[in-house]
Subunit: 182 residues, 2 copies
DNA sequence: AGCCCACTATTCTAACATGGAATAGATTAC
DNA sequence: GTAATCTATTCCATGTTAGAATAGTGGGCT
């Protein structure tokens, strides 16, 4: 896998309420939800759900619906809950640029949906980025001119931009999603 | 494929001289070369070479070496050469952040190795980023507050950082690689 | 001499990702 | 009435990816 999987996001959504695949998919398609953040195909989502079930993080239950195809409703297990909590509050923010955009914003989204405070999340991410920023500055001094040097400089610039941006995360209001849970 | 493949970079390297897999790998492992830019595994490189051969962009020739395993030396075909030139001078810079870091820096690296001027490359990329930046500013005004909005703002900040960084690309000297071609 | 390690050079394998189409009933639109 | 679209899921073929496996060479150590 290319590092970033929506595993924990799904666990977070299921922590709010048991849901079936199609319901979960909405969060990844709606551009006001996670649509800007992830680009997840249908089959991928169902594949991930299957994997999570195999790992014992969720359990599925077939639900017969009168005038609709049978659904599989997934519920979080205790194990899954633990995994999610670890992810949310013990973030391992790799501070790679993509990680921040995708993982951090997902964390924020889920935390808001669950009506949890987000200050700590933002703070953790900020600290991690500052640390990485500092580390890169040191690395730059040890790097010979050339492509490698330019790459390091770009990463430094990127992290700087994130640091300027991140404080806005707590100021920007999250309208609808707050109460609206389909 | 997840968008970014080293296909054209390999073609560019083969344009300098026919090489076998292990030789090409050096460019992706050496941190002063493309090591900071790509993270390519051995098997991946060989897989790409096979694919390129299937597409008729390169041809492989088995070379028996006296006291070493047989190598396959790949040579660029006319088609491959065309494909590379198109990529280098007709860049389609998607201006996604990752694209710039990986693709643009690769272009720069190859152009330098081939002793070609880089001013045009930088200029193209800069223009593309400015365009994307502008487009995102418009998009921001049409986006409701929430996660989507934050995502757009982050992208704007990232592009801004790139624009500040990109002018340095022509100023930073590229030492050794200029003449040294293993 | 015997052994271990690192380097050159490539292949294999199993798991996972990905895009796309297939299925199939329900509802809405014209 | 039939076409399109929505709900809900599965299936498939192809491609990517990490990691180990292979295999020969040369060097250093004891």
């Amino acid at each position: 896998m290319s590092q970033l999987t929506p595993d924990e996001v799904l666990l977070g959504l299921l922590a709010i309420q048991p849901s079936h695949g199609y319901q979960l998919l909405e969060h990844f398609r709606d551009l006001t939800k996670l649509g800007q953040v992830w680009n997840l195909s249908t089959s991928q989502l169902y594949a991930v759900l299957k994997r999570l079930e195999q790992q014992g993080l969720i359990v599925g239950q077939a639900i017969e619906v009168i005038n609709a195809p049978t659904r599989t409703e997934y519920t979080l297990t205790t194990q899954g809950k633990n995994r999610f909590e670890t992810w949310l509050y013990n973030p391992s923010p790799l501070s790679s640029i993509r990680c921040v955009r995708v993982e951090f914003l997902s964390r924020l989204y889920i935390a808001r949906l669950q009506n949890r405070p987000t200050a700590a999340l933002v703070e953790y991410q900020k600290k991690a980025c500052m640390k990485a920023h500092h580390h890169l500055l040191t690395q730059r001094d040890q790097t010979a001119p050339g492509i490698g040097f330019l790459a390091v400089e770009l990463q430094i610039a990127q992290l700087g931009a994130i640091l300027q941006w991140i404080d806005r995360c707590e100021l920007v209001p999250f309208n609808e999603e707050e109460l609206d849970e389909t």
